[in-house]
């Protein structure tokens, strides 16, 4: 496959751009933050996204989705990175939808997928139990009961935990923390007795909440995918999510850098534009190069299928983390004092970038995964 976007994907990009600039601009993000919104996104915008079909971007047509594919979804995430658009797209349309499509039985698919595609049901993946992404370290247990299971334990930094209708919980049904085997995924109603959500206020203003489970009773049909062998299913969803995050980080880096280059042409010191200083020119050219490299590896990862996915996912996420970090750091430095002010928008990018970097594995997590897969 040629490493370029198809015409359809280009059209999707154009329409996504137009929509996001109009409805989800950076100033809209500021307004959301400053007007006491508690969801971490604008519900009205979400319903407009649903009209565009975005929540069903990966969902099969059979379940009322767009079935547009991973590359198209990545295009939307890249554009959302540019405008810092907040939405439950990652938790619902990506992790949620992929887990249900890959692991759900017919009944589960029927219950969830059309509702997800319509933007009516929100899901959240409850996996990590500490501040660093570590899916195999899950210790929380699901104990068998007469009618199903009982869940006890707590999860941290659950993306969209506070708004989810359904939590997809990763729990241990055998083995020890660190084991690959023994993980099972459960569909848990967010309203179930014993579930408590404690919102966290993150630097990017989005939801990443702590969720506590105290003897939460669930029925046997709440198991999603294979019992005790949930790790493989989870990995498929995390690979999808990390590719989206890589695309979003690319968009963030592009936008922060684009604004910085514009500023370099406009801001004058010593009687000349600061962009005429070679020390800054070379650093800008290096950021540009890293962004170009990131664009290539992200597209390659989005296009990948089958056994190539895990490696390309980690290559793309690791590179996108490094590039977004560089681009957002340089963008603040090259703006000087104004870059440190809340009033100026450039600071928003570094905040979202860091949270996206650390969501489902930062640079070191994915670099380690690359090394493992390559056998060193």
């Amino acid at each position: 496959m040629a490493l370029v976007y198809t015409e359809e994907e280009q059209l999707l990009r154009d329409s996504a751009k137009e929509f996001l600039e109009e409805r989800c601009s950076v100033s809209a993000f500021r307004a959301l933050r400053d007007t006491g919104n508690i969801d971490g996104f604008d519900r009205e915008v979400w319903s407009q996204m649903a009209e565009l079909g975005w929540p069903g971007i990966l969902v099969s047509e059979e379940h009322d989705g767009l079935e547009f594919g991973v590359v198209g979804a990545g295009v939307i995430f890249e554009e959302m990175g540019r405008t810092l658009a907040c939405s439950p797209l990652l938790s619902t349309a990506i992790t949620g939808a992929v887990l249900l499509m890959e692991g759900g039985n017919d009944a589960q698919k029927q219950t969830f997928l059309p509702a997800i595609a319509a933007g009516e049901k929100l899901t959240a993946l409850a996996v990590d139990e500490g501040p660093r992404h570590a899916p195999r370290a899950v210790a929380m247990r699901a104990e068998p009961t007469n009618s199903g299971y009982s869940l006890s334990g707590s999860k941290q930094f659950v993306i969209d935990g506070r708004v989810a209708d359904t939590l997809i919980v990763v729990a241990r049904t055998s083995g020890e923390p660190g084991d690959d085997a023994g993980l099972t995924l459960f569909l848990v109603d967010a309203d179930a007795e014993g579930v408590t959500v404690t919102p966290n206020q993150m630097i990017d203003f989005r939801s990443a909440d702590n969720v506590n489970f105290a003897n939460v009773q669930i029925t046997a049909d709440a198991v999603l995918g294979k019992f005790d062998q949930g790790a493989a299913l989870l990995e498929i969803a995390l690979n999808a999510a990390n590719r989206m995050l890589a695309a979003e980080l690319l968009g963030i880096a592009e936008e922060a850098f684009g604004r910085t280059v514009a500023y370099m042409k406009e801001r004058k010191q010593f009687g000349v534009p600061i962009g005429s200083f070679q020390a800054l020119q070379h650093r800008a050219a290096q950021v540009y190069t890293d962004i170009e490299l990131t664009r290539s590896v992200v597209l390659k990862a989005l296009q990948s299928e089958g056994p190539a996915v895990p490696m390309l996912t980690s290559l793309a996420k690791a590179k996108a983390c490094a590039t977004a970090q560089l681009a957002t750091n340089e963008s603040i430095q090259m703006h000087g004092g104004i870059g440190m002010t809340d009033e100026y928008e450039i600071g928003f990018f570094i905040k979202r970038a860091r949270v996206a970097q650390h969501t489902y594995g930062d640079y070191t997590y994915h670099a380690d995964r690359v090394a493992r897969m390559k056998g060193y």
């Binding site: 040629a2 490493l3 370029v4 280059v261 370099m264 042409k265 000349v272 534009p273 962009g275 005429s276 070679q278 020119q281 070379h282 800008a284 050219a285 290096q286 540009y288 190069t289 170009e292 490299l293 990131t294 664009r295 290539s296 590896v297 597209l299 390659k300 290559l315 690791a318 590179k319 490094a322 070191t364 670099a367 380690d368 690359v370 090394a371 493992r372 390559k374 056998g375 060193y376």
Partner: protein, 391 residues
């Protein structure tokens, strides 16, 4: 699609028949690179045969037009050819500045007679070319070159000096930048000429590199007669051609690191072993992972930029970005090899150390970010021509 599969099948069987067995083994040193030309000493009959067969088919320059001896392949066919060559581990049949640099410029700017006379010999490996750009006082500031070409009616008389010209002592012909006008803007007084290195008044002197080899030279011109039939393009309009050629040179150089070869992780595991399933040296492991991530992203960038460009079309300023990153990446790779191999990689000689191959290639990579325009110059080009920064 079907045609392409047919092409693949035909290519495969042709290669099966025509690529000699020893040409399917990895090259061991620079000596195994076939450069062709009037005076080239072939390492073996098979090396000669392989060059001649590929040249006759035009597959040394797969996408060049058939009328000048090129392969006439589409971009897709050329990709298939590349894959098939890689599949059998075939060596590059011909290394040639004629192919990587001069050819594209001649195809674009040369007149019909020049194309007919020079290009087929490039494709077949019959003429070996060198590049006469740099001068002692005109390196990064190439347009400041001073080698003079005086107009004598049907020919020029050239006087001056070039330096750092790779393989000039082994080349048959030179493509050379000369000054034909000393007034006005320096870029507007440069012409692009071709001449035979055995012309009277041409002397070359090899210069030894830190890697021990002497592949590049000083060249002195003392009243060298150059017929005007070998002026490419218009007089005083050589700068555009020179820059166009540089974009091709930069694309070639950017690929040096990508063509490689052994996985650093494998080398390191062999040297240091594993501990709990991970490379025993954790710091080195992180460095190698960073290199692997950047190298993969760079390789996909080469792939993407080529997919975006049309066959044979130069990438312009993007080639500067590729040149900058590819060469810095290759330098980093060789520093890592030193870290992995330790003192082994610092041996200069001796059978046990493959005659210092590692140290010599490490030293050679230092030139990657100088030759073809330094990294700093590439960053200047990116800043000005891609980002549009002032000054």
């Amino acid at each position: 699609m079907q045609d392409l599969e047919q092409f693949r099948a035909d290519t495969r069987s042709w290669l099966e028949e025509n690529c000699p067995p020893t040409m399917r083994t990895p090259t061991k040193s620079d000596k195994d690179y076939c450069w062709g030309g009037r005076n080239y000493q072939f390492q073996s009959d098979e090396q000669r045969l392989w060059m001649e067969r590929m040249g006759a088919r035009g597959w040394t320059a797969p996408t060049w037009p058939k009328e000048y001896g090129g392969g006439g392949l589409t971009k897709e066919e050329a990709r298939v050819l590349k894959q098939e060559l890689k599949r059998i581990g075939a060596r590059q049949a011909l290394f040639s500045f004629g192919i990587s640099m001069l050819g594209p410029a001649l195809l674009k700017f040369g007149n019909e007679e020049q194309k007919k006379r020079h290009i087929p010999k490039i494709v077949k490996g019959e003429t070996r070319w060198c590049q006469g750009y740099s001068e002692p006082n005109a390196g990064s500031d190439l347009a400041g070159l001073g080698t003079r070409a005086e107009d004598k009616g049907d020919h020029y008389v050239v006087n001056g000096q070039k330096i750092w010209a790779s393989y000039a002592d082994e080349a048959d012909w030179i493509f050379c930048l000369v000054r034909t006008n000393t007034e006005g803007k320096k870029q507007a007084g440069i012409s692009f000429v071709l001449f035979d290195m055995v012309s009277e008044g041409v002397t070359t002197r090899p210069i030894r590199l830190i890697s021990g080899a002497s592949p590049f030279c000083e060249i002195f011109f003392d009243n060298v007669k150059v017929p005007k039939t070998d002026l490419v393009g218009q007089e005083n309009a050589g700068w555009t051609i020179a820059k166009y050629l540089l974009t091709h040179e930069r694309e070639m150089i950017s690929g040096f690191g990508a063509a490689s070869m052994r996985e650093l992780g494998d080398m390191a595991v062999e040297m240091l072993g594993l501990q709990d399933g991970k490379l025993a040296d954790g710091v080195l492991r992180g460095d190698i992972a960073r290199q692997d991530i950047d190298a993969a992203a760079f390789m996909f960038t080469l792939e993407r930029t080529r997919d975006e460009a049309k066959a044979g079309v130069s990438l312009g300023a993007v080639s500067s970005m590729l040149k900058y990153y590819g060469t810095e990446l290759n330098k980093r790779r060789h520093e890592l090899i030193l870290n992995i191999e330790g003192m082994n990689a610092l041996a200069w000689d001796g059978e046990a150390y493959n005659n210092g191959a590692l140290s010599r290639s490490w030293l050679r990579t230092k030139a990657n970010s100088i030759e073809g325009g330094t990294s700093e110059i590439q960053l200047n080009i990116v800043a000005k021509h891609i980002l549009g920064l002032p000054g």
